[in-house]
């Protein structure tokens, strides 16, 4: 390796992007999930992170003309079980996929951070051999949350591990032009802690709670792009009886609405978009 090899000149005109499978969501993300960067999606449980990751695993196999990467994907999961049935169902509804799409999705369960640190060096060799262009880790938070105590020394050690993992993932992303997608969980924000404000994580609300991403400030420095998904319970329009005052008022119809938002990204403004989860997968709503 010579320093001259690290120079990229002239610059490419566009970063390749992986489509999400829906034109509205692609427009919201400026083309899709960018390659050569680490994207993090964080949300409360049950909002749709795993659904979106499954959708991306299939989208990676689409030909490049349709926004895919024409390659296999790797799914590292720390939350069990692996949703194979849902993946199979999704593959029926995705048009233009090659034959046997499930053959091109490689799955590896993760048990701890040490296990992840063992798996990552093996990818140097596996990624080119299996033609992998997308790595999804679902979820990174679950790996860390059981292992480290809440003392300053342990937290410092934990930060060191964040940077190690992120550095290795960024190396793989650069070396092989991969898109890396991580999912994260949320933690509640107590009170107004002005001194620990993590950048622009102001009023992020999910189901009425004020939340922010798990794993803290150091981890926020490790990812390039962060997306936040949330849901809100909304009362649907009242029925005839309730309007006339005859209904008993206890039977309220609630509807869940889901949104996705860019928390930070180098190339996107702060914007949000509504989406729904259907049988075919996640679709944006304009």
């Amino acid at each position: 390796m010579k320093p001259e090899d690290l120079l990229r000149h002239p610059l490419p005109t566009q970063t390749p992007k992986l489509t999400l499978g829906c034109p509205i969501l692609d427009r919201f993300l400026g083309g899709g999930i960018p390659c050569d960067t680490i994207t993090e999606i964080f949300a409360e449980s049950g909002t749709g992170k795993t659904q979106l990751s499954l959708q991306l695993l299939l989208a990676a196999q689409l030909p490049i003309s349709r926004g895919g990467l024409s390659a296999s994907s790797l799914y590292l999961h720390s939350e069990f079980p692996f949703p194979s049935r849902r993946l199979h169902q999704l593959s029926f509804y995705r048009p233009h996929l090659p034959q046997n799409p499930l053959d091109r999705i490689f799955v590896e369960p993760l048990h701890s951070t040490d296990h992840l640190l063992d798996v990552l060096p093996r990818l140097d060799f596996l990624v080119p051999k299996l033609n992998i262009k997308l790595i999804v880790i679902d979820s990174i938070a679950a790996l860390f949350r059981g292992e480290y105590e809440n003392t300053p020394l342990e937290l410092k050690r934990r930060s060191g591990v964040f940077f190690k993992i992120s550095s290795k993932l960024k190396f793989l992303a650069r070396e092989f032009g991969l898109a890396v997608v991580l999912t994260n969980q949320v933690v509640d924000v107590m009170g107004s802690s002005n001194n620990l404000r993590i950048g622009n994580s102001m009023s992020l609300c999910s189901s009425g709670r004020t939340v922010c991403a798990a794993l803290g400030l150091s981890w926020a420095n490790c990812v390039n792009m962060r997306l936040f998904m949330w849901r809100e319970e909304e009362k649907v329009g009242m029925s005839e009886e309730e309007r006339l005052g005859e209904g008993d008022g206890s039977f309220q119809r609630l509807q869940t609405r889901r949104f996705i938002r860019v928390v930070f990204a180098p190339h996107l403004p702060d914007s949000s978009c509504e989406f729904v989860i259907r049988r075919e997968g996640i679709l944006g709503v304009s």
């Binding site: 690290l6 120079l7 400026g30 060191g160 940077f163 550095s167 650069r174 420095n221």
Partner: protein, 357 residues
């Protein structure tokens, strides 16, 4: 054109040029109140501009006395005398008189070719005043920085990020459009100042290194000297997250400190040798202090000595602010700014005055 090289904010420069004041002599003959009227700014700001102008003019005055010993001897130290204090209150320090045969020479101009290696404080002041400032495109930020990012110094900014080509070309297009608009404000006979670059020309002039480990980072910093020798036009080096690779578990913290200080010295040397601006980006971390967590800058206290200027970017409510934490010539101040699709611009809030701390 002399006005265009003054270290004042870009908006004031634009107003001066569009009002017809393109040379320093035209400014010396006008009264402050008339200038305030012509430029439609407050008298305070006019006085500030005129102060900068007189400092600049003072440097070129023919009757500045300077006594120096020529030719410079081995020690190369000239003998200087205090001159009448400039607006900055700086005067040259008398230094050692070398022994042996000497020849006194009185020179009229500050920049004497006889003084090659050693510099007095006066020389450095004039070089600093005439050095190029790279504008941040946000006049409030330029104001607190004293014109912009100075070449020949290391400016550190705390933030995080990564490079996306689409965003760079978006900003390049916006910059090219702004330059075209600026051109229309210039007078017709000022061809030298026209900036007519298409966005692609901006992108071709960005040299981009992508590094993934700390050894690569050190290798590239070592390689920069050779690289800049080959590409003489480089005027600014930006390292986005100098900290990222150093925050992994370094068993030997002493090694980390040595590597970082070595890198800082090399960058300082580069900045001086090639007259470049070096901008380093750092991260913010939490420090456990007496039972509570506080925000502090990454890489520790030893890194604080590495840079000449330090700017901290922070959020205040919903607004972004930049605060000068450390600077040899500008006072501590903070200014709001906003990130728009065209890049960094002035914040559109009501409270636009620069807050002095």
């Amino acid at each position: 054109m002399e006005v265009s090289s003054l270290p004042i904010s870009a908006s004031h420069r634009g107003k001066l040029i569009s009002a017809g004041y393109s040379s320093l002599s035209s400014l010396s003959s006008v009264s402050p109140s008339k200038l305030a009227q012509d430029l439609k700014i407050s008298e305070n700001e006019v006085l500030k501009i005129l102060k900068v102008v007189s400092a600049r003019k003072g440097g070129h005055r023919k009757n500045t006395l300077r006594v120096d010993i020529s030719p410079p001897l081995q020690s190369g130290i000239p003998f200087g005398v205090p001159v009448p204090p400039s607006p900055f209150g700086c005067f040259r320090l008398p230094s050692l008189v070398p022994s042996g045969p000497t020849r006194l020479r009185i020179v009229g101009q500050p920049f004497s070719p006889a003084i090659t290696r050693a510099q007095t404080a006066w020389d450095i002041l004039h070089e600093e005043e005439s050095s190029i400032c790279i504008t941040t495109s946000c006049s409030d930020l330029d104001e607190i920085l004293g014109g912009g990012i100075r070449c020949k110094e290391v400016t550190e900014i705390d933030t995080e990020g990564s490079f996306m080509v689409e965003r760079a070309s978006q900003i390049a297009e916006a910059c090219a459009e702004d330059m075209l608009e600026y051109n229309s404000l210039l007078r017709k006979d000022s061809q030298a100042c026209r900036v007519d670059k298409p966005p692609k020309a901006f992108m071709d002039n960005i040299f981009y290194f992508r590094i993934c480990t700390y050894t690569e980072q050190i290798a590239v910093v070592n390689y920069l000297e050779k690289f800049i020798n080959e590409h003489k036009d480089i005027k600014i080096v930006i390292i986005d997250s100098i900290t990222f690779h150093f925050r992994q578990e370094f068993e030997d913290m002493a090694l980390r400190t040595r590597l970082l200080s070595g890198m800082a010295l090399k960058l300082m040397k580069l900045a001086k040798k090639f007259n470049l601006a070096v901008v380093l980006l750092n991260q913010v971390t939490t420090k456990y202090n007496e039972g509570s967590f506080q925000l502090t800058l990454a890489l520790g206290d030893s890194w604080a000595h590495a840079s000449t200027n330090r700017i901290i970017l922070y959020w205040n409510g919903n607004e972004r602010y930049a605060y000068i934490d450390k600077s040899p010539s500008m006072r501590s101040a903070s200014a709001p700014y906003a990130v728009t699709s065209r890049g960094i611009r002035n914040s559109a809030s009501n409270c636009k005055r620069v807050k002095l701390m």
